[in-house]
Amino acid sequence: MSAQDLNNADGMNGGSGKDWSEDPRLTAYAFGELEDSDSQEMQELCATEPGAQAYVDEMRALGGELEAQFGSEVELALSGEQRAAIEAQMDVPAQAPKRGRLLHMSRYALVGSAAAVLVAGVFVIKQGESEQYPAMLNEAIARLEGRSETLKRSFSPPASDQVQDFESSSGRAPLKALQGLGYMGDDGPSASAGGSSSVAPATRGELAQRRQQKEQYGKRLSHSDWLPAGESPASKGQRDDESLQRLTELGYSGGIDFDGGVPGVASETYRGPGDSAPAPSAKASELRALGYAGGPSSPPPGAPSSPGSDYPKRSKDKSRKELKALRGLGYSGDTEFYDGPFDADDRSQDTSGETYKHVTENPFKLVAAEPLSTFSVDVDTASYANARDLLNRGSIPPAAAVRVEEFINYFRYDYGAPEGSDPFSVNVEVGSAPWAPQHRLMRVGLQAKETLPEDRKSSNLVFLLDVSGSMNSADKLPLLQSALHMLVQELDERDSVAIVVYAGASGLLLPATHCNSSAAIHAAIDSLRSGGSTNGGEGIELAYKVAASHFIPGGINRVILGTDGDFNVGVSDEGGLERLIAEKAKTGVFLSVLGFGRGNLQDVTMETLADKGNGNYSYIDSVLEARKVLVQELGSTLEVVAKDVKIQVEFNPSMVQGYRLIGYENRMLAAQDFNDDKKDAGEIGAGHRVTALYEIVPVGVPMELPPVDGLRYQTPKAPTGAAASGELCMVKLRYKRPEGSTSILIERPVLDSRADFQELSANTRWATAVASFALLLKNSSTIRETSAVDIMRWATESVVEDSDGYCRQFIYLVGRYEELKGR
């Protein structure tokens, strides 16, 4: 190529290339792609030909520009499942015939799984003018106990003519009261056809769809999200406001802050049993009289119950009618917002693949022999959520699935905020045990300080998600995805999220990503697909690796495992896994576990892992539970305010003959562990409440324990001077600050105020009711003759405020249990 067009030097910009510029070798030269001889030739050309050199420079600049432009294109990774399939194939020696196509092929089929149905019915009471609650309560109890035929008849199907029937036979007010209180005629298909089916369901599919709209990403779910399909956000909002206002006028002051889909929603869509039936008529004032006064800030929400909307099909005759009476009694929900049991048919009761560990109840102990009772706190709540889900599905939870302390601690108590520098307050109360009036009941309550959202520490979260085939169910992966979307919406630029998935093998789906670019995180969550078998062990190692590489000193560093339970561990065995987790917890990376779904739940493993990992174990049975755990209690779930919290109670033998700790069986510690700072114990997160109940047998009351023979080599110890103080016991707590390694001791002597059960605070009575229900589920003999009705009464009488419906839900569940048991 001899240089010909000298005058072409400036022509390049115009693009009118002349012959040397027609030579691709010059372009190749610009990018260093030529062989020696050609390269030399081009070099000479450039030396002699300014235009050629300019061309080369321009090409290089253009190439650089292209690299930059192309580099800015969004890169798209494989889905986690695809990666998992590849990684699975890696483990197959080369040339093996096996192919990883299965996952590959099945994916399209699975895409639709998110569309599976979750019905979230939302109901709201309307104004009415019914009578006082206590009368109704008594009536309901009387009926229940009397098994009144009238009642049964009157509670039969809720077609509107029968409602009339009822009204004439039993009087108008009770029915209205019942309806108003939340009894929505969950009696059978006709009810669901007439009423509930018209009620504000939001399907899971819609939720999933919603996520696909980008504008939703930045928004929190709000009650409007639970409105019927097809409503524009604007009208939703408006309706929210209207109905909220209406409720407020009604005196329902609760729940305004709660955006879990509770109160304000959809009053227009409510229909009583039979569309033509008059609006139900519980007055809010009546609710208040009942204790449902709802105030803006109380008991936490959860996945409340909504019998009306979706469980009607199962209801059957007799016991069902009793249940209604029960419900009238306590099931005073003005809103039914249980979004749980996906669809009725989906509620398989096959729990055969689930494993629970049988726990022997703590027995009564003699103070003379064992004056010290020592245990570790536990703030888990999974057992309650799991039992709720089972009950809603029509199964009575296996006794081993019930951990009393997790029932008790599911609820929010008001023990007063801590003062000074203490991370939690300690509050003790003593009164008579309702099932054994001669016995005393001692309630120990801790309340951790709250953390304002803006004070929350930066977090480094690594989600370790099970995407194995068994997760392909509406109540598993899609629910997990909803939960994650919610959580990510709560996070901000302080936080980073990474996602590791595991199935046949594991892979990093999303490298640690700051939450200000949450769109990428949401997209990654959406891309989750299930398929393959489970190998949790490798995944967990990877997750810890990611967490370690983004470790935030002094921040929240946590691996959050989401699974339906099968956790076939590559880390040799369960013991090895537990050791790994405990070891990582020491390095500051904690582990929380979110359990999902039915049929496969490895309750024990999951609880143990969270325990070893200094984290929490939650069972997510519904979107609302996900909200409770991941949104409303985000601070508690993530931010530890005190660790290794141990409680030791020393009973005074002059006052106390025997005692038993209710629950906490798998948290018991040896007495000497209390002062041993090397012994691990439970963590308390910001805002957490921990409640423990002791049943105490005072001196002089006959005890059923066989007496122990006197000792041959020792004489009983003499009481100290303090024993004469009249103190019942000394409650001692030890805790460490989150970054501390030395424990701090708190001591509280306890005096018995001689209170009756009825005189106790609502906190204690509620805890007692909940504990009793747990014990009832465990078929425990310790609560003697206590019946579901007793529990419902105690519960109903101790509701102080229930703006988010957890209390109503509990009461409902007790009734549900009674109903199921009667079948």
Binding site: M12, N13, G14, G15, G17, S21, D23, P24, L26, T27, A28, F31, E33, M59, L62, G63, E65, L66, E67, Q69, F70, G71, S72, E73, V74, L76, A77, L78, S79, Q82, R83, A85, I86, E87, Q89, M90, D91, V92, P93, A94, Q95, A96, R99, G100, R101, H104, R107, Q212, Q213, K214, Y217, A505, G507, A519, H522, A523, D526, N535, E538, G570
Partner: protein, 175 residues
């Protein structure tokens, strides 16, 4: 789970090339989901390769396999109709998640739009060169074009880009 055989190199390949392969395949197919499937398949095939039997660099091998697979997809679905670049862009946009689409849109600069008006082969070669950083020789292996043909395609492609840039500058930036 311990691996009896060496999988580190596959893992590394996955780490390094997964994303650019998806991008490359997505361009060829105009469909992110299919692209992902193709890339998955390519890696699955890689898993069955003995490392010592690979004649070229892993990434070149992967790109070549992906390209073949893309063409298979085209054939199978008798979608061999030449993908007009507009189709590529629009299909992609709908297939991508909103987030991806948004980012996509932003980065859809003038120059990228111009590229998408080039003949498909030129685009592919330009991308292999400037997006994926392959040499002429590697591109030749991947595309089965001769090295000089690759050089020619690049040369022509770059020149017409330059021309277009020149004219658009002359006209004053056209959005």
């Amino acid at each position: 789970m311990t691996q009896p055989h060496d999988t580190v190199w596959i893992r590394q390949a996955l780490e390094r090339h997964e994303r650019s392969l998806v991008l490359y395949a997505a361009r060829l197919l105009g469909d992110v989901e299919r692209a992902r499937d193709v890339v998955q398949e390519a890696f699955l095939r890689l898993c069955k390769q003995e490392r010592s039997e690979l004649e070229e660099r892993v990434d070149v091998w992967l790109f070549a396999v992906c390209r073949n697979l893309c063409h298979d997809v085209h054939r199978k679905e008798s979608r061999m109709t030449d993908l007009e670049d507009a189709t590529v862009a629009s299909t992609r946009a709908t297939e991508a998640t909103p987030a991806e689409a948004a980012a996509q849109k932003d980065s859809q600069t003038q120059i990228l739009r111009m590229i998408s008006s080039l003949p498909e082969k030129q685009q592919e070669v330009l991308r292999l060169k400037f997006q994926h950083g392959h040499s002429y020789k590697e591109i030749s292996r991947i595309t089965k074009e001769s090295v000089s043909n690759v050089g020619w395609l690049l040369h022509v492609g770059l020149k017409s880009l330059k021309e277009k840039l020149g004219t658009s500058e002359a006209r004053g930036a056209q959005a």
